[in-house]
Symmetry: C2
Subunit: 439 residues, 2 copies
């Protein structure tokens, strides 16, 4: 290996100095020699673009030029790589497109931007013969982009299942292990910095859906956009359902699922029952995990820190090294994740989707009610694997009671139709709860 | 993406048509279009070298030239990539070196060859400006080589812990879950094809040590050879110790461990106690797993099929694609895993190694014996965290009884010295058992 000081330079500009940007800045300043050895060139960090130049930063910025205008970095002919850690969608996309037009390679951690404008960005990158590297956009420090895009390239991915939002997994872990309500667990997550002041995009599943778009695009070349994804968050999840699921031997996770079949591609984000004892069910706290099933490799499971300053910065700087060595440009060109897919992949229609379901009803506690419900289920071809109905000694006779049913394999459209019918029965005291089971 | 039929060709020769070679052959013939799309060129499989050309093969070989002499493939100027799946050490190394000399890139699944002759092979690859890709050498389908070498390149790896032999993990799982003896579990593994007729290299830890050499070389550039690794297998493991470990809340795994500290690098392969509920403890059957801790990324955990025809073939063909695209040559050049390390890394001396230990003694069941033992331990600064001594109502008074001790953090050299002293006491009826705990 060449001594780092004799190497040539490559000049980098950083746009955005929030949590991830600060982590990247730290690695670039504190580990410059190591990065040079792994990249084969010295990475010279010249520029940073920030919104507020007066803000006190948690990283040394000696000798770094600061601007509020990313265009100033893009105009600098010395800069050959732009690292985008500003977040947001359209403003970030404009910066990335301008950088590609100016002949810069781009490293980005921005899943929302890729989910919404990935096709345009990769189209531009292809025309400009430049790389767009995006390992940090999904799964924080888990090298899932490289794994699916490069290492498992001999495989047709058959399915993906993933925990992609550390905030949600932290909240679900707290609810499950400590019996906290959703609201209380969210509050604790906010106090610890695992959830933002406005957690909407995390807890309603949008962030997870953005990341699933990126993974699905990579694994299936499916030309997916966020609105293609059936999405439910954890924000209306009732602690009772976590408890009943636990009694049935399952943990509830906010799972992103993609499954390819002869009927098409099924894409969804929803709280989902996962059997205890499987690696996915045991992912706790703010961790992320991805399970990939490939036709040759079988199942491969990855787990790591899904967010946080240094885990995500590790992925950004890993990408930066990949760009500097020239590998990322090859990957962008050959893989072309948002390029024309071999064939358009249709969404699997819901009358072709078969899985097991967890159902919970609140019903009148009087004779014949369970028979009425199960008759509706039976008419839709849904058979019952197990039932939970606890004694309710402490409630007055005739009070509504919960009835939990785990089905055998059932057709999604039939389950939905059955629940609509049941919810119209006068013995049903609340809208029924439906959660899928991922086996 | 270009239609596959308009692409240029790259010609490949395969040496060895055992389990892995057959899997590679299947992927090359059955998935030719997919591989071409991912590689950007059509992979033309021209040659196979086998020991016995008359043997009936489990794969179509129409149009493939067969030879018993790998040199014939190496002499063919059309062949630009040689895939080595023959196994063994010196014969394979000679084939690989000759291929590099002849200007071929090499893809290999051969950990034993890399562990013993990696330095020479990478030296030759550097001089010949050719790639040596070796993802399939460790962890079967788990993309751990790419992860450590490329994706986590921004990190200094601080520690690795891994289950790298599926045969051993299958045997240990059977012993733990079904209470089988080692001999009986091995026999079942052989019946199911998870263990070979002569399982020595698997069960004595040699195979795991070879793989640890490859990982340590990659993560630490440490110039390690197999004999540097303290190695114990599972072949002398007693079911009783798995049972006691279970009572203490631990699973026993054949763990490969590498840990970097200011005192050096600690490398070992041994049956090790892993706390139940952690992902590593829950790895069951013939699976492999690797936990990497990096200074930026924190801990990342990978699990997948560690062996088997198609999982390993997936890694070989992934490497082949990486070579065809040109990425693997960049990686070989920049990473240079067996090149000169930044600094020679000394082995951590055993008087600097601190961990917790599981100890089991067979002692005379009479007053004062435990006091005598614990006095020896105390004199070596070893304090006790927990003790198991069961009632032995069914044994005659005074029969030897097992005494299990879990220590607090203790210095390895002191533990070894204490056990030597204890084994010399006349109350000790059998050599003591010592297992490390990996926290």
């Amino acid at each position: 290996m060449m001594p780092a000081r004799d190497m040539e330079d490559v000049t980098v500009g950083l746009v955005g100095l929030g949590t991830v940007g600060t982590g990247v800045a730290r690695l670039l300043t504190e580990n410059a020699d190591r990065i040079a050895r792994r990249a084969g060139k010295r990475v010279r960090w010249k520029w940073v673009a920030v919104r507020d130049p007066k803000k006190v930063r948690d990283v040394a910025l000696d000798g770094i030029r600061m601007t509020t205008d990313p265009a100033e970095i893009i105009r600098d002919p010395e800069v050959s790589i732009l690292v985008e850690t500003m977040g947001g969608i359209d403003q970030a996309a404009e910066v990335v497109l301008a950088a590609l037009d100016a002949g810069k390679h781009v490293v980005t951690a921005n899943k929302a931007m890729l989910a919404e404008r990935g096709r345009e960005i990769f189209d531009r990158a292809r025309k400009a013969h430049r790389a767009v590297a995006f390992e940090a956009s999904v799964g924080g420090g888990i090298p899932i982009i490289q794994a699916i895009g490069v290492s498992l390239a001999a495989n047709q991915v058959q399915s993906l299942a993933a925990i992609l939002n550390g905030t949600c997994n932290y909240i679900l872990t707290k609810m499950t292990l400590e019996g906290l309500s959703y609201a209380r667990a969210l509050q604790q997550a906010q106090e610890l910095g695992y959830a933002e002041a406005d957690p909407t995009l995390d807890v309603d599943g949008t962030d997870t859906a953005h990341k699933l778009v990126v993974l699905a695009q990579l694994a299936f070349g499916a030309n997916v956009v966020t609105r293609d994804i059936a999405r439910r968050g954890i924000d209306r999840l009732d602690l009772a359902d976590l408890t009943y699921a636990g009694e049935l031997g399952y943990a509830v996770k906010l799972l992103a699922v993609a499954r390819l079949s002869d009927d098409g591609l099924d894409l969804r984000v929803a709280p989902t029952l996962v059997r205890k004892g499987t690696p996915m069910a045991e992912v706790r706290g703010p961790y992320n995990a991805v399970r990939v099933v490939g036709d040759a490799v079988g199942d491969v499971f990855f787990q790591g820190r899904g967010a946080g300053m240094m885990a995500t910065a590790s992925a950004v700087v890993g990408d930066l090294i990949d760009v500097v060595t020239g590998r990322a440009l090859i990957t962008s060109r050959v893989l072309d994740p948002w390029g024309d897919a071999d064939r358009p992949i249709a969404r699997t229609p819901s009358n072709k989707l078969r899985r097991r379901y967890y159902l919970r009803f609140i019903i009148a506690d009087r004779p014949g009610v369970i028979a009425a419900l199960t008759q509706v289920l039976g008419a839709h071809g849904i058979s019952i694997a197990s039932v939970i109905q606890h004694d309710t000694d402490d409630a007055p006779d005739g009070s509504p009671v919960p009835l939990v049913i785990m089905t055998h394999m059932a057709v999604e459209s039939e389950v939905e139709a059955a629940l609509e019918e049941i919810d119209r029965l006068d013995v049903a005291h609340a809208p029924s709860v439906l959660l899928a089971v991922e086996d």
